[in-house]
Amino acid sequence: MSKHYLGVDIGSISTKAIVMDENNNIILDKYIWTQANPILATKTIINDLKKEAEDKGIVDELNIVGVGTTGSARKLVGSMLDSQVVKNEITAHAIGTLSIYPDVRTILEIGGQDSKIIIIQDGVVVDYAMNTLCAAGTGAFLSSQAQRLGVKIEDLGDISLKSNNPSKIAAKCTVFAESDLVHKAQIGHTKEDIIAGLCKAVVSNYLNNVGKGKNIYDKVVFQGGVSKNEGVTRYFKEALQKEVYVDKNSHLMGALGVAILARKSDQEKKFNFDISEQDFITKGSECSGCSNNCEIIKVYKNGNIIDRWGNRCENSKT
């Protein structure tokens, strides 16, 4: 029986999961919104994967022996799924991308709250940069602006391609961008131009902040949720004067990377799809052991505590 590996990438906006075989081929994949509920999103996505396998008639052949999690909720979901590997997004993305583009030198990544640039040399990550804690110019910024304009976020890219004259919008800060946007609309800019302006602003913001001082060499791969937006891709190509590759699975790279890491970990453990029937809750509490008042998170599975974290010292009483 062949072996399979599950990779789950739980981001702030979307949750991605894949199942791959021993040769890193993705056989099942799923992409859903996290909706600020990583536990529910994980249950849903595991269930969806199972359904997809049933539809394809391969559910009996599935033999998942390794699980990896990445993304901002990696720790929580990692203990939910009892995964072998819990890895940060940078490494997961780099490994996932390298498995598809072995000659990649630069990875541009814009996700829901993070944006990062990863520089690769001879197949090894040598440098990276991430946005500061502010989420300006990321997916969260685009989705709030789409809402303001009454447009679905999925349509932003297509609409922006219709424009040849993007409005100038400052994407440095979401608050400023909003007032800029209102102003542009009020003086008569069309919606297409404004949306194109937004996409362009994301690119210039990215290159000025995250990409600052980095040498961008070919081959350039653009990924993360925002890479699905063709407008942003177009302005990246214009600004960099380079071909920018967007894989059809660009949103799955993190999940793929962490599944590969799970395979390489050589720790095998049979994974069961019944996770969606289990009851998971988390409880946050403030420790009263000392005046640091650490926020302690406890994860319960069917009422039994399975994991806890958050305390800075051994003093925690709760």
């Binding site: 901002s72 890895k87 940060n88 940078i90 990550v125 040598v126 001082g213 000392c290 005046s291 640091n292």
Partner: protein, 309 residues
């Protein structure tokens, strides 16, 4: 009589000197507790919004000492030999505290070389203002100064000794940040602990000998302005051949660091650098992602290097 020393800002650097000085003058020394959430919150409450996080924490420490001692020692640091200056925050601390807290008795002095105020005469003034004789104060100063010098050199030698015996496979990470950030229980400590948990060896750029020959810092840039930034750059130069990565830590909204860190990252070419800026609303998750991936980068880079060799 009790003299209180806030355990923040430059105390992280000069504590040995100050404690010894006051003890030799027959005072009891009270040191405020290590920074905790309560001190941080008090500091934020008493501070101006625009202050940097480190100086906010300082006010929290002053509040912590308030009422527990007769005098609180808050010196002013302005300028030093060779045109060195300190950040204006250090000039202002005495006045800020004096204006913020009611009934606060402060012992102060003015380290302002450019205005003709020598370090030794400032210490002598402290002794005088507390009613100690000239000779007693003078002896206390010399003794404290010697202890401080010994302490600095010992720390440096220890770190050097450890470095020389390090295994090449280990990840040696240099922490470049002011001592009041690196060694603060809330600011730098969690970062250092997290890196150590991931198996890194921590080397501190703020540990340098008391006197360093030549202006090592000028190898990075000739136009550094602040004394304490120069010392950190000296640290980078001293340790650069032993390290695999540099983590810069600064606090929002530190002016000098925002310039110097950026400059360093541009100038330092062959060593991976990570820049962390701390503020009041830190989430550990964002920090951990950055630290984890940084250690990954160093580890993978080393592995690849080993294969190529």
């Amino acid at each position: 009589m009790k003299i209180g020393i806030p355990n923040a800002m430059l105390s992280h650097k000069y504590m040995v000197l100050w404690e010894s000085f006051f003890k030799s003058l027959d005072f009891d020394v009270v040191i405020s507790s290590k920074t905790n959430k309560e001190i941080l919150e008090n500091g934020i409450k008493y501070s101006n919004d625009e202050s940097c996080l480190a100086s906010k924490i300082f006010l929290g420490h002053v509040q912590d000492l308030h009422g527990k001692c007769d005098y609180i020692f808050i010196p002013r640091h302005c300028s030093f030999k060779n045109n060195d200056v300190a950040c204006v925050k250090f000039n202002a601390l005495y006045d800020i505290c004096n204006n913020t807290f009611n009934n606060l008795k402060i012992v102060t002095c003015d380290f302002d070389y450019n205005r003709g105020k020598k370090e030794i005469s400032e210490y002598l003034n402290i002794g005088k203002s507390l009613g100690r004789s000239y000779f007693k104060t003078f002896r206390a100063y010399i003794k404290a100064k010697n202890e401080y010098r010994k302490y600095c050199n010992n720390k440096y030698e220890n770190q050097n000794e450890i470095l020389k015996n390090k295994n090449k496979k280990d990840n040696n990470i240099l922490i470049v940040s002011h001592p009041y950030i690196t060694h603060d229980e809330i600011l730098g400590r969690p970062i250092v602990n997290y890196l150590e948990k991931m198996g890194a060896n921590i080397i501190y750029a703020d540990i340098i000998p008391e006197k360093v020959k030549g202006d090592l810092w000028s190898n990075i840039s000739k136009n550094i302005y602040w004394k304490y930034s120069k010392e950190l750059l000296t640290g980078i130069e001293l340790y650069k051949e032993y390290i695999d990565g540099i983590v810069f830590i600064s606090v929002f909204s530190c002016g000098p660091d925002s310039l110097v860190t950026d400059l360093c990252i541009r100038k330092i070419k062959n060593i991976p650098c990570l820049n962390l800026v701390l503020d009041e609303l830190n989430s550990d998750t964002g920090m951990q992602t950055r630290l984890e991936s940084f250690v990954d980068v160093i580890t993978y880079k080393k592995k690849a290097g080993a294969i190529n060799e």
